[in-house]
């Protein structure tokens, strides 16, 4: 797995470019958690980039490092031509208004003691845009956009809402400052399937209405595939595979992507439950395996995988994998 390598980058046209991102956390006794180890990707304006992988693969850390929360150990994050890692505190504060986040647990990410209208308006009041009617209008507009009736919800507090409605409030709060990019960190993992569908549809609508660029982080490839224009599969702090969602599903090249796909429960009793299961546990990020980090759980692993780290390479047009022995991907014209 995973490799480093930047063949999949698309150059200057990207809105956000993340290069060689490394995130390490000291844990005492001179041990270091290698949460993210040299991840690169870019996002075009108006695109939805899906980041998918298991817990502990570094996908959330990557999302947060883009916001400089906290700043990465090394590497570069360029947003709209500005290098985020070089910004002063004040410049960073200003830049962050254009990059917002939505989190996994909508209920705990809202202050239970505040009214919905104050929660949503907080960004405006911090930036002193809360004078008079325009701020109230803006709050009402975003609440309405996310499918909540401002008249009814404005004076209520978060505990009066269900999980799905709280997630709508979080989305409204993220939208109120007119951001360019929203980083959605597992926004639907805590929700029922029926509500999950509502929120996924809502994110697609908001993206179209406000011209957003989204980073969508999740562990379920079926969910990521539904909303993304490009998917980055991560494992233990490295990138395994980068491709368009349909190509990734039709022809997964990396053995890890294969396993992720096989794990999705199929709502069809005639479809036998796949006998492919990921072997074992995620290795410790304190002492990750040499070479390819996925080799300890990979069916195809050979000696070469432990000595030589695979680099991302193009195995089909706009389809990249970091594996010494990728699955064959048929080259289709226009596919």
């Amino acid at each position: 797995m995973a490799g480093t390598g930047k063949v999949h980058m698309r150059g200057d046209e990207a809105l956000v470019t993340v290069e060689d991102l490394v995130m390490e956390f000291p844990t005492g006794r001179r041990a270091v958690v290698h949460a993210v180890s040299g991840v690169s990707f870019d996002i075009l304006e108006g695109e939805t980039l899906g980041l998918v992988g298991e817990s502990g693969c570094g996908k959330s850390t990557t999302g947060r490092a883009m916001m400089q929360l906290p700043p990465p150990t090394s590497g570069s994050v360029r947003f709209d031509g500005v290098e985020m890692t070089d910004l002063s505190k004040e410049e960073l504060r200003r830049t962050r208004t254009r990059m917002q986040m939505i989190f996994q647990d909508p209920i705990s990410s809202l202050n239970p003691r505040r009214k919905v209208k104050d929660i949503v308006a907080e960004g405006l009041s911090i930036w002193h845009n809360d004078a008079g009617d325009t701020a109230a209008q803006k709050v009402n507009e975003v609440l309405d956009a996310v499918g909540l009736d401002p008249e009814v919800v404005s004076d209520r507090r978060p505990h009066q809402f269900s999980g799905g409605q709280c997630q709508r409030i979080c989305i409204a709060r993220a939208l109120v400052l007119d951001p360019k990019v929203i980083i959605c960190d597992e926004p639907v993992s805590a929700l029922d399937v029926s509500v999950q569908a509502q929120i996924l549809n809502l994110l697609e609508d908001m993206k179209a209405r406000y011209g957003l660029t989204l980073v969508f982080i999740a562990h379920d490839l079926a969910v990521v595939k539904n909303v993304s224009d490009r998917v980055v599969v991560m494992y233990l702090g490295k990138v395994c595979e980068v491709a368009g969602p349909d190509a990734l599903y039709a022809h997964p090249a990396h053995p890890y992507t294969d396993v992720l796909l096989a794990s999705i429960p199929e709502p069809d009793p005639d479809h036998p439950v796949s006998d492919r299961q990921i072997a074992g546990e995620l290795p410790s990020p304190i002492n990750p395996p040499s070479g390819c980090r996925f080799r300890t759980r990979c069916e195809k692993a050979q000696d070469r995988c432990s000595t030589e780290e695979p680099e991302l390479r193009e195995i089909a047009p706009d389809h990249y994998a970091a594996c010494h022995f990728p699955n064959e991907v048929p080259v289709t014209v226009g596919g």
């Binding site: 298991e54 817990s55 502990g56 499918g147 269900s162 999980g163 799905g164 029922d192 399937v193 029926s194 509500v195 999950q196 569908a197 509502q198 996924l200 549809n201 809502l202 697609e204 609508d205 562990h219 379920d220 490839l221 079926a222 969910v223 595939k225 539904n226 909303v227 993304s228 224009d229 368009g244 969602p245 349909d246 599903y249 396993v259 992720l260 796909l261 096989a262 794990s263 999705i264 429960p265 199929e266 709502p267 069809d268 009793p269 005639d270 479809h271 036998p272 439950v273 796949s274 299961q277 990921i278 074992g280 546990e281 995620l282």
Partner: protein, 356 residues
């Protein structure tokens, strides 16, 4: 199967809660049976009453719960609701055991894994410390925990989420229960780990011949795992059938809606999902008519005023509670009428529902 008595018979079970806002009817007349070694999946959204249903079966409800007369919960010939406190203590664990959604909160954070597994073995089976430890080791191997000897001496926080759920399964299995109730066992886990845990439950069940109640909000989870499925909505069972029958002949609009809201990996990306608009009803209010009517695309005047009862569809073991079952000419007519009007008899705006 018919000759033998089912392991569990639940008849007309009602569980209400006395809350400051009034009586909350969490489970409102549910009946089903479960044979030995069989798996039933109970599917529904949050708040549909599925967790309260199984807690009522186990008789582990909170003190403000009211179970009106007329209900029967017969497990292996005994009514679980008449057990005395001391009888119940030996009933849980040895007859029925339960695993919960969040393994971190169901394990004791300040006790070692080994202590937590051996606790019930020593209590119920009167085993010595050493015997219990040996059994615990055996269980750890059975549930697929690597380095079991070392893990027994660790605390829950030292394990990953999947390993913790394996530990709770080991605890549940410690005294060979006849029935395992799994309440959303994989909802807090990654898809890859979910698959591991579901595979584990299936193989253990086969090995030990347990019956299982598998609760989930995701029809995809039960499709390959349960022999029968019961779909719950607002405290009622709205459709129940053998798994294959249910998927091939979905009759209830709620079942259909749940199925359609699942994002399918084989669909093109950016395929719009059919979300179910609105929310389940407030169960404190007096509910009239079909409880799903306000969110149903097929709802007619009759659905608003009359409450449909579960009835046989003609297929073996398939029961459903809808006046206009999906796939019937009546439902097609009902939908066409609603689409012409733009709004259902219950006031659902179809155009708005499509975009929400």
């Amino acid at each position: 199967m018919a000759s033998e008595r089912p392991l569990l018979e639940v008849e007309n079970l009602r569980t209400y809660f006395d809350t400051p806002r009034g009586i909350l009817k969490a489970v409102d007349g549910v009946s089903f049976t479960l044979d030995k070694g069989e798996t039933i999946g109970i599917v529904g959204e949050s708040g549909s009453g599925k967790s309260v249903l199984v807690r009522s079966i186990m008789n582990i409800l909170t003190s403000n719960a009211i179970v009106p007369d007329g209900a029967k919960v017969c497990f292996d010939g005994k009514d679980t609701r008449n057990l005395s406190r001391s009888e119940a203590k030996h009933f849980w664990g040895t007859q029925m055991a339960m695993i919960f959604q969040d393994p971190m909160t169901s394990l004791n954070p300040v006790k070692k894994v080994g202590v937590q597994i051996t606790e019930s073995i020593r209590y119920h089976l009167g085993a010595s410390k050493q015997e219990a430890m040996d059994r615990a080791l055996e269980l750890m191997v059975q549930v697929g925990i690597p380095e079991p000897r070392k893990r027994l001496r660790e605390y829950p926080h030292q394990l990953s989420g999947g390993m913790r759920q394996r530990v709770t399964i080991a605890i549940a299995l410690a005294c060979n229960p006849k029935l395992l109730i799994a309440d959303e066992p994989t909802t807090a886990l990654d898809v890859t780990v979910q698959k591991q845990i579901l595979d584990l439950l299936a193989s253990l069940q086969e090995e030990l011949g347990m019956a299982m109640i598998l609760i989930t909000h995701d029809l995809g989870v039960v499709a390959g795992r349960a022999q029968r499925i019961g779909v719950m909505y607002a405290g009622k069972m709205v459709e129940t059938a053998e798994t294959t029958t249910l998927f091939h002949h979905m009759n209830h609009p709620y079942t259909e809606a749940l199925f359609k809201s699942i994002p399918r990996v084989e669909h093109q990306s950016h395929t719009r999902l059919d979300a179910i608009s609105g929310r389940p009803p407030d169960m404190v209010r007096e509910l009239v008519g079909c409880r799903f009517a306000p969110r149903c695309r097929y709802a007619q005047q009759r659905c608003v005023t009359d409450e449909p009862e579960l009835f046989d569809t003609g297929q073996v073991g398939h029961r459903q509670a809808c006046f206009y079952p999906v796939g019937s000419p009546e439902s097609a007519q009902a939908l066409a009428a609603n689409q012409d009007a733009g709004v259902t008899a219950a006031g659902l705006d179809l155009a708005a529902a499509a975009v929400s």
